[in-house]
Amino acid sequence: MDKDSFYPQRVFITKDSEPLPLTQRILKNLHHLPVEGIQNPQDLIEDIKMSRDPVAEGKKCLLVTLQKGSFVKSCPCTPQYIGCNYFIINSDLNCPLDCSYCILQLYLDNPLITVHTNSEKLWNQLDNFLNKRRNRSLRIGTGELGDSLALDHITERSKDFIRYFSARSHAQFELKTKTININNILGIKPPGNAVIAWSLNSHQMAQMEEVGTPDIYKRLEAARLVSRAGYRVAFHFDPVIYYQGWEEGYAEVIDDMMMRIDPKKIAWISLGSLRFPPALKSVIMKRFPQTKIIYEEFIEGKDGKLRYPKPIRLWLYERIVEFLRKAGGKKIPLYFCMESRDVWQEILEIKIRGKEDVQKLLALPLGES
């Protein structure tokens, strides 16, 4: 556990989650903090939502409760662009990191950092889900609605997930993070189907726009340690941000990444340029008055989100792919997040008909984990 690891200022535990083993583990790891028991989290959520900065207030609190809905969902991706055929596990919501561009500032109705501790239901739902798809390979992960490892020193959930998936080799399980919270991962034997992924950006953008995250050197060093321990790793350049000096910024990080990590250990790299729903802009303006990334030129994409005009996106992708190839990453599978068919074609020279093709591109052949 890093000295900068997150600890909440307030911990709330719903009565119905209190006896559960994961809740007890969390309580043990937070023994130095006072804990408030609550019946129904809705009043608390409404109270935080009333705040001047509900996002910041929510990040100070940890809510331990039950997942009443479904743990496993299809990645919603975005309408009108090529999807990734990814499945998401909603075990935790929100994260303590505070990235200016984060869509969760707008997306979630519950601003509190929330851990769902009814693991039995999670494993049952995962069993059902995976059994139904036992004859096909798939990708699944936890990093969609929160950072996969930001709370791992509190929940130690990475170990549970990796152990669970080690016996289900047709699924590639991904933990996606910006943190260096890797102690639990390093403590267990890496199965072939676990992928530990880092979201990366240029040093300048990470420093300015990703508040509370470890710097890029630290992230890459954590990736090196994890890959040296035998895990496959992945990287997500998402969002790629267009700013004065972006080419040098991304080239430097890519060179560093490729020097530290054996390309054969890289399961995939994704690219996605900055995009956000129009309503997020005013939230970013208010919460991050110093940021300039939202004042570039954007168009309204086919999905209604603001994104860079296509020539700019193509320019960004062309150069980044070139940097990756030059640095020794010619064989690393690349994919785009929320991009159009013609961008795939123009940059990667791959004809993608739909999300099934993306899955094929990134799939680990059955039985190879």
Partner: protein, 318 residues
């Protein structure tokens, strides 16, 4: 409540602790009181042997204008200011909607009476149709703190909440420049001009004053030939271009190429919004077989027209 006849001098009209309406048209009420007299007497409370008006500011204004006396009033037996204010609030709420400035004044008065901000937000903002959050409380308090002259403009010109929310971020000298500029425009365009100004200012780290003092904008503003609407519209377009230089340049270049290709009026070439899906469309109209043949021949000819072909090129990077 007791009904009593009092002199207007018995009311301390300088004490506006329960007042939330400042801008109104008195003509109808004036006519009504002239014709049939006062039907609903104002309500007052007694504080330190003086009467303070709780409801009935319009009626008092008419009485003053017509120099009528004595004034029938209901005396509300209520020592608590918040409750007296709520009397006025609910009395009004029962029969009318509040305008933006009234809502702002109500919020500001309530803030003076209620220490617990979250209680105020939760219990009273929904009554006013305001989302129950602290940022909205802050927004309405800020609106209530605007100079009376700006409030008058907002009321008379019916400036939208979206634009007022942006205007309150500016200082007095900036408002002097901005308000007259945006007034002739529609609500949407007012907001667009303010958004663009704020975003240019943040991106370039220059003051709004400096943006508006630029020569190309000043030459529009100082033109004697242009009406205020024309000036506002031209400044809006200049700011749009400044905010979106590449997109504007691509659009202009596309339109120029289109012009050079000299398509006839009957043939329209359209592109997807900012070339996002890379598709173009051709629409043409015709009356008969002969015209159909003409249009097709014209279109066929375009294939060897370099200007026309240049339309399909991807705009340059960066």
């Amino acid at each position: 409540m007791n009904l009593k006849q009092i002199s207007l001098d018995d009311i301390d009209l300088k004490d506006e602790r329960f007042r939330f309406s400042y801008h109104y048209d008195l003509r109808r009420l004036l006519l009504s009181i002239k014709k049939i007299g006062l039907v609903n007497p104002p309500v007052v409370v007694n504080r330190d042997h003086r009467f303070i008006l709780v409801t009935g500011w319009k009626r008092i204004c008419v009485y003053l204008e017509l120099s009528l006396t004595p004034l029938p009033v209901f005396i509300l037996e209520q020592d608590d200011d918040l409750r007296a204010f709520l009397f006025s609030l609910y009395e009004n709420l029962a029969h009318r909607d509040f305008n933006l400035l009234e809502r702002a004044e109500i919020v500001c008065r309530l803030k003076g009476f209620i220490e617990d901000e979250k209680r105020l937000v939760k219990e009273y903002l929904p009554l006013l149709g305001i989302p129950p959050t602290l940022p909205y409380l802050d927004l309405y308090v800020k609106i209530s703190q605007l100079e009376p002259s700006w409030k008058k403009v907002i009321f008379e010109k019916k400036i939208s909440l979206a634009s007022v929310g942006l205007l309150i971020e500016f200082g007095a000298s900036e408002l002097e420049l901005l308000v007259p500029l945006i007034l002739p425009l529609s609500h949407n365009k007012q907001k667009q001009i303010l958004d663009d100004l704020i975003q240019i200012s943040r991106k370039e780290e220059i003051s709004l004053k400096k943006i508006l003092e630029a020569e190309r904008i000043q030459s529009v503003l100082q033109s004697e030939k242009l009406s205020s609407l024309q000036k506002a519209e031209r400044v809006r377009i200049l700011l749009r271009k400044e905010r979106h230089p590449s997109l504007s340049a691509w659009k202009e270049s596309f339109e120029a190429s289109l012009k050079r290709a000299r398509l006839s009026k009957e043939v329209i070439l359209g592109s997807s919004s900012f070339f996002e899906n890379g598709e173009f469309s051709v629409t043409f109209s015709l009356k008969d077989k002969e015209e159909f043949s003409k249009r097709l021949a014209r279109l066929q000819k375009l294939i060897s027209d370099e200007d026309f072909i240049s339309l399909f090129k991807r705009p340059p990077d960066g």
